[in-house]
Symmetry: C2
Subunit: 413 residues, 2 copies
Amino acid sequence: MQTKYILSEKEMPTRWYNVQADLPSPLPPVLHPITKQPVGPQDLAPLFPMAIIMQEVSTERYIDIPEEVQEIYKLWRPSPLYRAHRLERVLDTPAKIYYKYEGVSPAGSHKPNTAIAQAYYNKQEGVKRISTETGAGQWGSALALACNYFGLELKVYMVKVSYFQKPYRRSLIETWGAKVVPSPSMDTQAGRSILDQTVIGEESMKQMEMAGDYPDVVIGCVGGGSNFGGLVMPFVREMLRNGKKTRLVAVEPEACPTMTRGVDAYDFGDSVGMAPIVKMFTLGHTFTPPGIHAGGLRYHGMSPLISELQRLGLAESRAYHQNPVFDAAVQFARAEGIVPAPESAHAIRAAVDEALVCKQSGESKVILFGLSGHGHFDMGSYDRYFAGELEDYAYPEEKVKEALAHLPEVTPA
Amino acid sequence: MQTKYILSEKEMPTRWYNVQADLPSPLPPVLHPITKQPVGPQDLAPLFPMAIIMQEVSTERYIDIPEEVQEIYKLWRPSPLYRAHRLERVLDTPAKIYYKYEGVSPAGSHKPNTAIAQAYYNKQEGVKRISTETGAGQWGSALALACNYFGLELKVYMVKVSYFQKPYRRSLIETWGAKVVPSPSMDTQAGRSILDQTVIGEESMKQMEMAGDYPDVVIGCVGGGSNFGGLVMPFVREMLRNGKKTRLVAVEPEACPTMTRGVDAYDFGDSVGMAPIVKMFTLGHTFTPPGIHAGGLRYHGMSPLISELQRLGLAESRAYHQNPVFDAAVQFARAEGIVPAPESAHAIRAAVDEALVCKQSGESKVILFGLSGHGHFDMGSYDRYFAGELEDYAYPEEKVKEALAHLPEVTPA
């Protein structure tokens, strides 16, 4: 009975997949935060290296992964895909559950996939110093690892609630040589390219083939959308180009229900109205979600690409409260061993629920979910869960209503 | 350029190797703590399942790994062997450095290799409840994982200094369903079989073959000896049976220098004189080492098998202070990504020093070391290191002298 499906380094993807080549129509334009007019690559040049900007606007189907980036990926990639035999047994379900595990990266999550690429392109353009914002510290630690490899100085502004809730993620960032300062502002999730993360989905595709299955459902948690996008985009390609049928389920916290309760509107990418304006599902850029333990899922908006998937009916979404998410996290840890990050546990909750539906219906569906990271730096959250101290925050309807009153007024072409 | 050497689940060892079959003479007998006479299996029956006792005294060369144990091993085994290309580059050494990484287990160390087997044999004998002691919590978490799989209740007595220094290892134990209580006594390291851990060395042997190299030096950290033994025993077999030549280096903390400064004598296995008396290198069972951050290496004695290797001249030993160990840990984390456990960092320090010797001599030696675990639950130690708060304790000569006065008086046959 095989437990893991492992690819060799030679089978690692050498190209990122760009779903924009296959979408029925181009994404709505990105607008300048002040002029409210569509921006061109030159407008973004002060913010990002040109290579990254060109990727973001590219309609090429594939973009080569630079060799230097591939070499660093090999420190942990290809990542394993597991068949969750023990979880299936515990749930007594006829469903077949698979999970792609990104916690094997040194930073413990999927985020180094894009951080390495971004540090590389910055280095290429002669950048010497970077500063960034991080929520729960996953992004900050990933970029610290990446900047360390390319000899870039890094300063990380860490959202205050996480700075104190997850002190050891801060230590991790410092171990890789970056500086950390607590930040009063929200994380902008700027510049986390879904494109760079498609290695996750491409590997999963090959590994599912090794396992002799194709997923009926693919599930991932969503904050800004990079984890979900990185996993599902290659499956979207198979839907759009080869007529495959797969349900894609994006899972978010009830405390920050961007896709399930947000509006589809133009809004700022950041909380202070300095970042470009994009069309997306949003709770309003001034909305500040409660301090839940899945700190990586506290973003007011959703990536334009994932928003487009929901708009086109290619992806669905659902939201869960903290306690049922941790119930699933502990059930998973006891069945499969791995203690998941609170963010990833949202995907587990949905996968378990899908498997329980199969138990009712007797269907043997194939479920694949993204286990985007481990919870080694989130054990304080587990302590609070076991102590019965986790709040299941009500959907903050009033706060969202207030935030939505501050959407920018735009009249796009 | 290949970074990782990965075996398939089919290539996983199916037998444990027992070096006792190949030693020139049997180990000195184990003595009863009260009668001081050699014990037989029946004397140990109240303490351990018979299957484990029989393994400990067996002179069979190979012992089959039960299928149920193999199935659980597959959750993380075979573990990867890495070529440390980046570390070599940083050190500018002609040496080739490889490391076997056991941090991929759900508990983050090599200890589940034996914990799973021990829980299995206890279950087989109808045991329902186990209690155990743990130092830094590595063993406690490994056994919590194992007992969870076999439906055994577990209570973990965790050495006080670690209970407070590493609170999240406690949370981990609780997540897998065991109870934890702080304990004033020292960890006894009882019942951690080297035999069960030889899967590490057997896999390494195959992986070095994949890499086309054979190690000139094999390095591991030593506390009780299970990590070092698990890695080196198959290489000892090749020395004793096939005339291969490899230096084996056991690395310990200066604060607890069992092999480098201890005496070769009969002593109790535990700190209170209740456990069987064995012939080993020891600092005296009443010796309490200072509260260093490598909590897993704070044991007064050394496994009889590892002691025998040093006695026969098959293994050598060396000791390091905390700060140079953390220097190497951070250098490794920045080169290879993985943040090591303070225990494992002892092996890194020695491997780096061996590689620097090669740099001087121009020799391109092949160095293999055991990276026995990650440091995700030890970040507080890194914080203290960066803050310059780690003490390099002087060798506690007076305290050891005092402890050696309390060795049991025995007159073995």
